[in-house]
Symmetry: C2
């Protein structure tokens, strides 16, 4: 293990860092307990796991020494909350994380059970390890260490752990508005939204937004015998395939009218930052067996961070069991996600997709909207914001290199929501890495990231204390 000494830490901060390094084993043990809880928010069958996760976190926040520890209800999955307000005159930082995880299926592809954490070669495998129980643990342990070692934090803290991040945060707006007074803060530090690179220091200055759509196409009242009707009638799967195929041009660009409306083109600085980012495009594709395909005129890295995208996440219809069934299926379903960039209204974008599908749905077939979630717009953090400046100072002193500004391709809806409802900006400061198979089988988190993250969070909280609260506003 490398030295825990930091050139940028004063003696008090260094003591916190040393304390965190000494506690690596119990921190990992606690994270493993957290990962054993199957807190899948998308599937009602996992409601008990969601409840267990909340009780587990409430207990930990109390043990750390936070006050006002409670559940905040917004009508959906409650958030877990706790605060520490012992730094008068200093900024108040909301620490955001989420305790819900993605569904674990397809289960058959997991090498170890998704809710039985297993460590292999320094990698902790479990659903939610990288997204985002690992980084949430780093944030909580950093606060715990300040309180344990120094009796207080450099800034005021409001811990806010959401339970609906993986389902598009349907009740979060209502929840935050309802508890607006309690949640008042100067800025948000998010454990979600990880590091862009293991090599170069980076600062997340924004993320794509998103929106979701689920539709059903019907071509008949019932499934029909393919011998008696085949060649005579429309087949729901043929028509759905045609609709889905019509969404993209052959070259990979999105063919939906209005899909790109409002999208700010990448600036020269953004394209320069993207070029400076250490990125092995060949390895990016080879690692996952994927192939380069998308909107012409942009590099793959630009496409996944600076350009909107449209993906079908699930598609089904007809007989999908063992053997064959000679039917003309009457129904097909599809789930879609749009990723949007700065300047776009995610609701307008996803409604453009729906209009496209409706316009291309052939006569005699019906297209029903099962779900339409507007999600959240893209988020952007100004370069002069104290969150960016503080992170730059910490990462440059730690690494000796100037951090590169990057944007996330994934969406962190809360960032936009906190800006809109509480008027505050968010710095994404998670420590997961891009290859950790989030949302897929065999998700893992690197154990080495725990100490790297704990050092950086410790230094960042100390650094943020040097800015007056007013400096965080008005960007």
């Amino acid at each position: 293990m490398h030295s825990t000494d930091s050139p940028s830490a004063d003696a008090g901060t260094q003591a916190v860092i040393d304390h965190l390094a000494a506690r690596q084993q119990p921190i990992v043990a606690w994270l493993e307990d957290f990962l054993r809880i199957p807190s899948v928010s998308a599937d009602p069958a996992f409601a008990p796991g969601m409840d267990t996760a909340r009780r587990f976190l409430l207990e930990r926040l109390r043990a750390i020494g936070l006050h006002e520890v409670q559940l905040l209800d917004g009508g959906g999955e409650p958030a877990v909350y706790g605060e520490w307000n012992g730094a008068p005159g200093k900024p108040t930082v909301m620490v955001y994380g989420h305790y819900d995880v993605q569904p674990a299926d397809p289960l058959a592809l997991w090498r170890t059970p998704p809710f039985e954490p297993a460590t292999v070669d320094g990698r902790l495998y479990a659903r939610g390890s990288s997204d985002v129980k690992g980084s949430t643990t780093i944030a909580l342990e950093t606060i715990a260490a300040f309180l344990a070692v120094r009796g207080g934090c450099p800034v005021n803290i409001k811990v806010f752990l959401e339970g609906e991040e993986e389902t598009g945060s349907p009740s979060l707006r209502h929840l935050v508005e309802r508890h607006r007074a309690l949640l008042r803060a100067d800025a948000v530090l998010s454990a979600d939204g990880g590091r862009a690179s293991a090599e170069a220091p980076t600062i997340n200055t924004g993320a794509r937004g998103n929106a979701q759509l689920e539709v059903r196409l019907r071509s008949a009242h019932k499934d029909l015998h393919s011998g008696r009707y085949g060649g005579g009638v429309r087949n729901a799967l043929h028509e759905m395939a045609r609709l889905i195929a019509s969404l993209h041009h052959a070259d990979g660009g999105v063919a939906v009218e209005g899909f790109h409306a409002g999208a700010q083109p990448p600036t020269p600085q953004q394209r320069a930052d993207t070029a400076a980012f250490p990125y092995d495009e060949a390895a990016f594709f080879a690692d996952v067996g994927g192939s380069d395909h998308g909107e012409p005129g942009y590099s793959a890295r630009e496409r996944i961070t600076l350009r909107p995208a449209l993906d079908v996440n699930g598609l089904w219809g007809g007989y999908t069991g063992e053997g064959g069934k000679t039917i003309v299926p009457c129904e097909a379903g599809a789930k879609l996600t749009a990723r949007v960039v700065a300047g776009q209204d995610p609701g307008a974008v996803i409604r453009a997709v729906l209009r496209h599908l409706q316009a291309h749905c052939p006569p005699g077939c019906t297209l029903e909207t099962v779900a339409l979630h507007e999600g959240s717009p893209a988020s952007t953090l100004a370069p002069a914001h104290p969150l960016v400046r503080a992170a730059e100072a910490v990462l440059e002193r730690e690494s000796g290199r100037r951090p590169i500004h990057v944007r996330l391709g994934a969406s962190v809806p809360v960032t936009a929501l906190f800006k809109e409802t509480l008027g505050i900006d968010t710095l994404m400061f998670g420590f997961n890495l891009p290859d950790e198979d989030v949302h897929a089988p065999n998700e893992f988190f690197r154990l080495a990231s725990i100490q790297q993250g704990a050092r950086a969070w410790t230094l960042l909280l100390a650094e943020l204390a040097s800015y007056p609260p007013a400096r965080f506003h008005g960007h």
Copy 2:
């Protein structure tokens, strides 16, 4: 109930018809017992149901008074066999049926459980009632009545009940070849392949053949996060949708090169027969909520009986459960069936489909063949064949109208197989009707068809006795 007197029956035959009419209640009760047995051949989970169905039939064949009652094994699901050879010098007729049924899903759409027969308004609802346990029961009861009332049948009988019809009869060829001597006969009367119309008398003079294909497309090693990869890589569902959409032209015609190879164009007589057939095209579509779509230049009725067709029976990939999952799916699957007409080689047709899919599979994706079943070619019965002449005589005397020659859109693979392996022709003489939701939820069989069928089968067996065995060969 209408009179059971027939203008065409002699006294002995009339006694058989009367006996069958008097036995309507026990015949229905036995059919209901048959329908309670879940003999789904496509799904290994139903193996016990398949076994129960065989034992149930063996018992019945013995009770009827057949000889050599036994299972015939060909390496797959055994066939049930029994014979009666007491009419020396008369033709030997193989009576074909099948005891297996289609899978019952989607279960949620059944109004009554699929394996609990329920009679409503003269319709007997159950999986397999129309396809083809109902018509199989008619055939068996006709033989039973001849043996009970007259002590013998007008022709020699070989009952052959298959267990793999719904899975494409994978072991049937081997089974028939293995038992070729036992199965020697002059013609086949099939309980499968039903009536084309409830109004007009019709004779089935052929059926489309078929072939099946199942493929998997892979675009990456694993499902990918749609935020981190969306817009950058190929999506298996987009590519599969594009492949499926490419199979047909927008006007409904099949776009696969080589798909129509060898297909004999409909003859003027076939088109005239099709036009003469009482067929309400608007009702055909309205009954099932389907819409007119297919190869240009042909009526819907021509398309489903005289032209080849290609249907996707199942399509799937990505996340299909509750809620959403923001992935770029790495895999997609599809099941397809081709229907072929006279002159076509079903293996060549389905391989043309596979070649099309492979040729259109984009770089970076792989297409794997999971299953390819060549099925069977279309079958055709010559107009001068005694089977046709005898059926014409029976139906014309019964109805007072000249029967219309029709062809089935569905496939009865055994017809081609019996021709090829045993050199004999098959008349499809089932009594199910086209609207009885075979292969779909709420399949039913009209109870009135039992007596109509039993009368016709009784008269037909008597009529066939008037032809010397040699007349059945050489067509």
